[in-house]
């Protein structure tokens, strides 16, 4: 039986202190509901899930920096519809289950108004589904796999980066013309890799080419066996579809094996974060950039690039732009719709054109109504070692391919439906 008298460890003072603490907590709990805040006093909360640890962390960090940069700019100018913007960032650790848990935490605990994420296509795919289940507007800044805005498109999900098909279509013809039709793929074994390789293969088959391919785990680090097989196949081009640290490791080993003398390099994405991390001999090949910092004569680009470089002491990448556009898209939608309801925001974003200070590139950049995919330009060109005194001048743009042209709506497989 529990004894009736207090134990020796808990004295009178202890009881008084505990009582005072409980009283204070209780008072705070009781008093808070009586304070009704005006809408303008309540912050506009944005939840952002990205793999800040793991093999894609380099890219994720840049996206989050771009988002923070936009949030600070917006708050300096009075916030979104007069409300201060708060950014809640959670690490998905490059793991799908963790990503799903994190977005639920943001929605259920932090009560965010809108959500963003993830660099990892599989996580982006899964958390978009959670956002749809919860009826929250969600923007995918940098997860490329096609079904997100293709066959599994949803009324509340928008995407900034290109689909894998758009990226593959923009560079395939260049690779075939420059190097030939015998290709070897090294591809990550998940959503992004599957759809990217399928898009390349489709284009290669149309041109009558041949290929061999290898599917490897997303965070693979030893490519020796795959590279030996690639060397034996004697392809014209090695398409390195890996991402982040895995792509960097693959490139380093490619150069160590002396394979840069035997075959060309190319593929969809070789982002500036990755290009900077490989030896100069691996800074080569023909690739897409989804946004490029060096655009002489295009308004507002220089100010944005200088701002990012000065603040973060690193090059301004497409990932910074993705994060930046994501945050501003919410602002544009809320202020135009005069609402924060997901359904109103989704209708407003459909077809919305980004103003030049956000688009930061020539031409019309807009969210395509039929699939909710942003239609920017794709910067196809050649990666090379940096020019003298210009450490970030690593890429020469050869062609600007409009997104709408790279993949017409009819090819996406999206049939958009709204909740009744």
């Amino acid at each position: 039986m529990v004894q009736g008298k207090p134990s020796g460890r808990l004295g009178r003072r202890g009881v008084l202190k505990a009582g005072a603490a409980l009283g204070a907590i209780g008072a705070a709990q009781i008093s808070s509901p009586f304070i009704v805040k005006a809408l303008g006093e309540q912050p506009f909360k944005i939840g952002f899930v990205d793999p800040l640890t793991g093999s894609l962390s380099l890219l994720a960090v840049s996206e989050v920096q771009g988002a923070h940069y936009a949030v600070d700019e917006i708050n300096k100018k009075g916030g979104i519809a007069g409300r201060e913007v708060q950014l809640f960032v959670e690490d998905s650790a490059n793991d799908v289950g963790t990503g799903v848990e994190k977005i639920r935490e943001l929605i259920d605990k932090d009560h965010v108004d809108v959500t963003m994420g993830d660099v990892n296509s599989a996580i982006a795919y899964a958390i978009s589904q959670v956002a749809t289940e919860k009826g929250i507007l969600h923007i995918v800044p940098g997860g490329h796999t096609d079904p997100i805005t293709g066959k599994d498109c949803a009324w509340n999900v928008f995407r900034i980066c290109n689909t894998t098909s758009m990226d593959a279509n923009a560079i395939s013809e260049i690779l075939i013309k420059k190097f030939g039709k015998r290709w070897y793929f090294i591809t990550p074994d998940y959503a992004y890799g599957h759809t990217l390789q399928a898009a390349f293969v489709k284009n290669l088959m149309k041109a009558g080419g041949t290929y061999e391919a290898e599917l490897l785990p997303i965070a693979n680090s030893d490519f020796s066996a795959s590279l030996i097989r690639a060397k034996a196949y004697k392809p014209n081009v090695l398409l390195n579809n890996m991402g982040g640290l895995a792509q960097i490791d693959c490139m380093k080993q490619f150069v160590q094996f002396g394979m840069d003398k035997d075959m060309a390099l190319g593929g969809a994405l070789f982002e500036i974060e990755s290009v900077l991390a490989v030896p100069p001999t691996a800074q080569a090949g023909w690739w897409d950039m989804e946004w490029w910092w060096d655009q002489p004569g295009v308004p507002y680009v220089k100010e944005f690039v200088t701002g990012i470089v000065d603040r973060y002491k690193k090059p301004c990448s497409a990932r910074h732009w993705f994060g930046y556009v994501g945050i501003y898209s919410f602002k544009l939608a809320v202020e135009k719709a005069k609402s924060t309801k997901a359904i109103d925001l989704a209708h407003t974003l459909e077809g919305m054109e980004l103003p030049p200070e956000i688009a930061l590139q020539p031409g019309k950049v807009f969210y395509r109504a039929g699939d909710h995919e942003l239609m920017p330009n794709i910067f196809a060109g050649e990666v090379h070692p940096p020019a003298a005194n210009e450490p970030y001048n690593l890429f020469t743009v050869a062609d600007l391919v409009p997104g709408d042209q790279a993949q017409p709506l009819a090819e996406t497989g999206c049939h958009m439906t709204y909740p009744s």
Binding site: E90, E105, K109, Y125, A126, D189, Y190, H194
Partner: protein, 327 residues
């Protein structure tokens, strides 16, 4: 729990375990109401229950039979996929999904247990890891059925129809929490019942001195196999609930990391206590939830906490309380 504690407690304090038990259930039943006051939320409470159930199931084997499995996430993950695939491919029925998860985890665990129950110590642990890797790679590579690395999407837990009324666990987080609590109660009640039975006492005998148990004529291998099987059925139930919690299944639910985390939870809470792993799971999940929102280096802190617990509280958190109350 009460069985274990009761056996070690003297007659004048016989009612204490019942009071503690009642206290635990009051805390669990009231969790959705008090958790928001301390920064929690209902789905975190559900997650703690689910992971806590998984850790308690593993502890049935580690703490009460004395056999260490480092691959128990396999049967948890099979429970996840069992429930997910029923909802995705067969029928939109929550009870069917839960039963399928329990059966898939349990039956496979039973088969694996039959193969490995003669191994002991490090060899037993290594074989459990090997089998876990097998199931992980099946889930990872069988893209067309399991969704591969991307996971199995496109299913949702369904409301449960009771004839006169419907429990909407799909949209109502509170209703889902109580559904999880009900399944938790049934499974935990079953484990408690087994541990209080003569069979449960025999498991303790095997844990304490296997050779003596064998000399007494106890078929030790068969008992270990049965304990492995029961543990797998129970962790399969936790897996099925996890699929319903996330509306999602992915290979990380049967990966080595989760097995390790479950062992950490058992050690953290106290392996010799029935409720210890639930406390360990609660501490682990809450810390992970909080620290991961503060820093990207959250795994470092989780590891540090584990090291500190092993060094300074080798009997776990409940072990400390018990020692104090004994003093």
């Amino acid at each position: 729990m009460s069985g274990m504690a009761r056996a070690q407690t003297q007659a004048p304090a016989a009612e204490r375990p019942l009071l503690i038990l009642a206290g635990i259930w009051v805390v669990l039943i009231a969790a959705p109401f008090w958790m928001p006051l301390v920064g929690g939320y209902t789905s975190l409470a559900s997650r703690i229950l689910v992971i806590g159930l998984a850790a308690m199931s593993l502890n049935f084997l580690i703490g009460f039979t004395g056999v260490v499995s480092f691959g128990h996430a396999a049967y948890f993950g099979l429970g996840v996929y069992g429930a997910g695939m029923i909802l995705r491919y067969i029928a939109p029925s929550t009870p069917l999904a839960v039963i399928a998860g329990i059966l898939l985890g349990g039956i496979v665990g039973s088969a694996v247990g039959a193969l490995i129950c003669r191994r002991r110590g490090i060899y037993f642990a290594l074989v459990t890891i090997a089998f876990q890797e097998v199931f992980y790679y099946i889930a990872y590579k069988w893209d067309s059925v399991t969704g591969g690395f991307d996971g199995l999407r496109g299913f949702q837990r369904q409301p449960i129809h009771f004839g006169l009324f419907t429990l909407d666990i799909q949209k109502n987080d509170l209703a889902f929490y109580y559904f999880v609590l009900a399944v938790f109660a049934i499974v935990v009640g079953f484990m408690g019942f087994v541990l209080r039975s003569p069979f449960g006492r025999t498991l303790l005998a095997v844990r304490e001195n296997e050779r003596r148990a064998r000399f007494l004529g106890i078929p030790v291998d068969r008992h270990i196999w049965l304990a492995f099987t029961i543990s797998s059925f129970c962790i399969g139930a936790a897996g099925a609930l996890y699929a319903l919690l996330n509306n999602f299944a992915d290979p990380s639910s049967l990966y080595t990391d989760l097995s390790g985390e479950l062992v950490i939870m058992c050690v953290l809470g106290g392996m010799r206590s029935f409720w210890g792993p639930l406390l360990g799971a609660a501490v682990f999940e809450v810390l992970q939830d909080y620290i991961s929102s503060q820093t990207v280096n959250w795994l470092f802190f989780i590891g540090l906490i584990f090291v500190l617990v092993v060094m300074f509280f080798p009997r776990g958190l409940l072990g400390v309380f018990r020692r104090r109350s004994a003093a």
